[in-house]
Amino acid sequence: MNNSSKPKFFFQLLHESRRVIYIMLDEYRMILRDSGLAVIFLGATLIYPILYSSIYRNETIHDMSIAVIDESQSYRARELARRLDATPDLKVTYQLNNLEEAKDLFFKQKIHGIVYIPKEYSKKINRNEQATVSIYCDMSSFMYYRTMMLGTNLGILESGKDIKIERLNVAGITGRTAEISVAPFRYEKNILFNESMGFASFLLPVVLVLIIQQTLFFGITMLTGTLREEKLASIDPKMRQKDKFFPTIFGKVLCYFSMYIVICAYILLVIPRIFQLPHIGNQLDIIRFFTPFLLAVIFFSMLISIFIRNRETAMIIFPFISLVLLFLSGLSWPESNMPWFWRSFGMIFPSTFGIQGYLKINSMGAGLEQVKFEHIALWIQTAVYFLATVFAYRIQMRTAVK
């Protein structure tokens, strides 16, 4: 008995796998034949990473244009302006005499900051009093604000330190003692994982993961929608495998998965190296982490596509979701400060964990052990969306047969 069931089982397995492979090849055929699908799966995944990496290539603002209003007209004021200009962040493009002129340039958005040195600046310093310098920051972009604060803090603190030492000298504290008094302890800043404090290194890893998820999502929903337009009732209108939904599901998954192994390798491993984005992670860990990510995204998209009736539907309704997902990942607004319900809402989407995991492994060099939470979460998502998809396909295909 045992002997006869074994070959039977083997043949059945062979038969089933032939079905799976048939579906897989059929999906490939449809994707390659349909220019719209090919554009999403192959075009967008190829172009978007290059496009975004090129646009954000410069990473930070250097020599941001500012104006200095020097009412003091003194050596000390010129010294301060020179210091500001010497910082890597700022460039004094205009030396003006009054605030009105500066306002005009500021409203024309030609300068992104104003440093105002009042008339009594030099006098106050010479009289051993505390002088005040006013700075005006362009708040239209966080980058302008950050650059202005970095630059002026550096420039003005440096100037202040010199004056401090002069004054301590006057008070009878000199030499090394004065230096130490001014700075009883030093503090050194170490930027970890994004040494250049760059914008591309910050944003791009997130965009890359989102590109993978969103192209898969739009591709799968468009593919299903297109098939549906031909015959509304069924999820697999051609009834390629009658009511055999397991081969249908596995065939599709195998097609998307095999295609995206190559795409992921390009986006996650090659692009960061070409564009000098952070890539200190273990490549094997990235592969192991992104296996459940891909599966979760595929099953998630297949599940949503149950509700998609037309080719365009998802593309018209859902592009804005990309932006929401970017914020749910906790990259911009810190995850620790998100309201709890949005944090829970984010857990619906594979990208939330995918992005966090990729940042931690690829940008911060974490091991798989340290992203255990995200890794397990993705496997749970895979399981949940897999079961839901099987269930939905079963219902859909059964009703279609009747």
Partner: protein, 403 residues
Amino acid sequence: MSKSIIQQIRDVAHREWKRMLSHPVYLLSSIIAMLFCYVFFLTLMSEGLPKQLPIGIVDSDNSSLSRALERNINASPQVEIIAKYASYTEARKDMQKGHIYAIVDIAPGFQADLLANRQPSIAYYVNDVYLVAGSLSYKDLTYISELMSGFILQQSLQAKGITSEENLMSILQPISIDTHQIGNPYTNYSVYLSNILLPGVLQLLIIMFTIYAIGVEMKQNTTREWLSTSNESILSALTGKIIPHTVLFTILGLMGLFLQYKVMKFPMNGNIVLMSLAMFLFVIAHQSIGIFIIGLFQRLRDSISLGVFYGLLSFTFSGLTFPIEAMPRGAQIFAWLFPIRYYFKIYVNEALNGANIRYSLIYFAVMLLFLLLPFLVYRRLRSTIVAHDRKEIKYNRFNEQFQ
């Protein structure tokens, strides 16, 4: 017999309105998407500036001074020490897990070195993978350190007999900085982002909706009915079609302005009427772009792909997150092609800077220029629609004969 052009437009608009209501999927999902984003972005960052950012400390000195530093850090509203670590490696591992944004590392002998005038140092490690959290926690740590060293200097000066408040301050901080954050005095992060992200979502919906509304007539073979409503006039057919959308999206856009400036009390240093006008121009400029895209590509499927591409690039080229002038020169040119860029400039002038209207006039004018786009593809679009219409008529006749 022949209807006036106003009549034609009214009839088409009426037809479009009925079409929208009879298949409300897209209408409802646009409204829901926009409302969702209003709620999402305005509540996600309702705190304004992230507070109590989690950081860690490695206090190998464990002296009264290092504990004082720790207390000072905790007293600041911006950061919060959530964990103490025995070693830097341990702390770094936790940072890699994303639990903390910064590490304060105090080496052993800190207090002893300080008292012996050996100028010890403290190391800060900031995780700038999270640019905002990293920048903010670093800014705060610098500030606390300056305060601390000022405090220590003050004590040593007092010990030397310099006690008057004036003298002390002039030595402690010879130059004080008086910072003005124009238009956003509390560095409210939500003000900075929502003001552009929300119109950004709106423009995505407008472009897709416009392309779909025109393309679907051809896809579903209803051009005959469409054109007969407009008395065969393409101009009326197009105008009448997009007017109901103009009303819908202008209402949604103005609602956003109301939520931001009235409900959330975002700064508005200029004229809200001008902002509303800018919003209206923003809506019709994007409708024009939608018409331009479908006119250019003719087929619904290609137009939609391009619409998504353009709409998503709008966020980049608004110049909100990363300034245009810091981009490579080749990319900078493209910023001209996005109305959101001009809307951004108007918003900065009006809401933040409170600048005179004459600074924004040029941006209003450029937004108006986008209205010319449909005329560039007008003939092409007309021939597409007419050609499709002929096919449709032929097909109908064939069907009639067949029956």
